[in-house]
Symmetry: C2
């Protein structure tokens, strides 16, 4: 029992069957399509509100059959936190942060992994592999462990040390590679036949996007089935942005948000050291070239080529939004500034968002009375490398109170 009508090639609309393993179609990602009319008859927002606070409360809008137990680590709904102090500093009257750091393994990647690992398990997979710039590897390792699957992870050698730790902790077969995430992706692709693993790469299977779209469903529910004016979203592989846009279309068609709802404008944020989507957006192109010499401490943004580039760019443009870069040298300072202002641990990718947000408020692109939601996609302490923290040493036997400010 499920509400999936079919799968659909995103590049050409080809109808594909549901219920068997799928990766790409014509080298491009695959959408999951639902019988939304049947879902409309089966469940209401009031029903959803009575369910446990987990992304699985949107069960009918997820591909896993209703009678199959998901592979879950108890991923709760993440809080949508008002940020009045930081808003005031930026000149915004309604600034909110959706804090994804409170998910299992400390990042938004868990949304995608609970969905795709659940589906892979249902479809008989026992060994998975993926490339990762950081948090996806930790999440995949955890969910694969939860599912009792073998997990191979390939990560750039300069991946944050915490992500390497996670892969080891959860018993994954994890490797450091002398390259970038796309080099790691090639290993996963090349090994598929010989190693017999299922490729869980971003957007290379249809279900991570379904898990990620719950960011959009939750946001709508938490705002009383309305949506904000603008969403700032740090964009690496782009699954979340694409997923949220899909969620908004489904909510419109379901009638769970009003037919005349003005959908949010997406501001897709990348780091100046790795900005393939911004480059393509600025050129007016639908596909992005590989970004040369990708380099940024915001490891989740170190994605020089995205297989879903056209889906990201389509969504940004359809939303009336834009793509923009933040400054590399602003990352550490913005992590500390935003975290100190509101007590929310801001990750480097989200720090880049704040750098762009400040600029766009100043130049009027974002209005001072617009409601703005910024996604904090991971726990800041997973990025020790991004913010050196050298604390002052004290001798317990000789405290200089004046030096402490006393």
């Amino acid at each position: 029992m499920h509400y999936v009508s079919h799968l659909e090639g995103a590049i050409d609309g080809t109808v594909l069957p549901f219920g068997q393993l799928a990766n790409l179609h014509n080298g491009r990602p695959i959408w999951v399509r639902y019988h939304l009319d049947r879902i409309r008859d089966a469940v209401t927002p009031a029903d959803i509100a009575r369910r446990p606070p987990s992304l699985w409360r949107y069960r009918e809008l997820l591909p896993l059959p209703l009678d199959v137990e998901p592979v879950t680590l108890g991923e709760g709904m993440t809080p949508l936190l008002p940020c009045p102090r930081l808003g005031k500093e930026l000149g915004l009257s309604r600034l909110l942060v959706k804090d994804e750091s409170q998910l299992p393994t400390g990042s938004f990647k868990s949304r995608g992994q609970t969905a795709c690992v659940s589906m892979a398990k249902w479809l008989g997979v026992t060994r998975v592999a993926l490339p990762t710039a950081g948090n996806a590897g930790g999440a995949a390792a955890a969910y694969a462990a939860r599912a009792g699957m073998e997990c191979y992870i390939f990560m750039p050698a300069d991946t944050p040390v915490v992500n390497q730790f996670e892969a080891h902790l959860y018993g994954a077969k994890a490797y450091r590679v002398n390259g970038l995430i796309n080099d790691c992706g090639k290993i996963v692709k090349d090994g598929a036949e010989r190693m017999g693993w299922f490729d869980l790469s971003t957007l290379k299977e249809p279900y991570r996007i379904e898990g990620k779209k719950t960011m959009g469903l939750e946001l709508a529910e938490q705002l009383g089935w309305t949506l904000p004016d603008v969403i700032f979203y740090p964009t690496g592989g782009g699954t979340g942005l694409v997923g949220m846009w899909k969620a908004f279309q489904e909510l419109l068609e379901l009638g769970w948000i009003a037919k005349d709802t003005k959908l949010p404008r997406f501001v897709s944020v990348q780091a100046e050291g790795c900005a393939p989507i911004v480059t393509a957006f600025d050129k007016g192109e639908r596909f992005a070239d590989l970004f040369p010499n990708a380099k940024t401490v915001a490891s989740g943004l170190r994605v020089p080529v995205a297989v879903g580039d056209f889906m990201i760019l389509d969504a940004i443009r359809a939303s009336g939004g834009l793509a923009a870069t933040g400054r590399e040298d602003a990352i550490g300072p913005w992590m500390r500034r935003a975290s100190t202002a509101e007590g929310i641990g801001i990750c480097p990718e989200t720090a880049v968002c704040f750098d762009v947000l400040e600029r766009l408020v100043k130049d009027g692109t974002v209005g001072r009375d617009e409601s703005v939601v910024v996604f904090n996609t991971g726990a800041a302490p997973k990025y020790l490398e991004a913010l050196p923290a050298e604390l002052t040493s004290l001798d317990k036997d000789h405290i200089d109170w004046a030096a402490l400010g006393g």
Copy 2:
């Protein structure tokens, strides 16, 4: 508007007034007491069930007046995760982990901090200070930032690097001290007058325990207002254990759990390198001596003396439980073994619990069909030092598939 009847000195039952700043009474902690009869009339478990999934849903059982906004980072209810695979390995039919790592700042410390910082703010405090063995400092820094307060943190020089990072991230005035947590505590005490800070040390103000008791309230609610047979709890300062025992008494008196409920036996777990409570328990004493040369990689257990020692020991004994130590050299292996078995990132303190649990199942102290809840008190990646993770390097241009197991 609140339901607090009075404060009460834990050592002698002295009635103390509510509504003003309080630290210790006769050098010992203070309980918060409620008009439970009025709470019984005002709210039911069914009302609670309809509220947002946050520890603030137990609002009537918390000290903050109902019309005062709490200082919150959206601390959700943490999942209670079945662990069938690990249970089977240990010979248990009903093993559950309560995963506190999904709270803000990645540890159970956020429960205490949202409560005590909310109360401190309400009572006019603008500067706080505390000693910390690790996660409490990160949580205090975050909640103080959220409240707009100044926060001083003193931590042993060998505190995990992630905790040092957090203190800096949230803008706290944080210092590394050449000593243990009790040495840090002395600095906080000595500086109180000169520095004008409010002392937020574990159990040295009355409200952290009220926040921590929500672990017990949530546990009961998640089990349909019943309780497990045994609770394994890693014990540093002991606030959580004491708080849960208090919660169970309050639930009994409210009638939210059945009058004849058999309360859980506490197994209070410490590391062999720092076990003051276990030592006192074994000797049959109510107060614990300072544990000499405290040393363990489970930094949250590196608490050689606890001001609430008698409260901890009273609760363990009243529950029919016990205190026991786990082996230092089992910590890393248990972190990886338990995390790999269930996909839950197990922290060092909880790894010690599993070491003790395995032993107590083998010797029959814990029955194979008893329901056992183990608290996972923090996110494993906050303890990089506890589990070295040296991943294998791969050359992207020369993959040896056979070496990968292909």
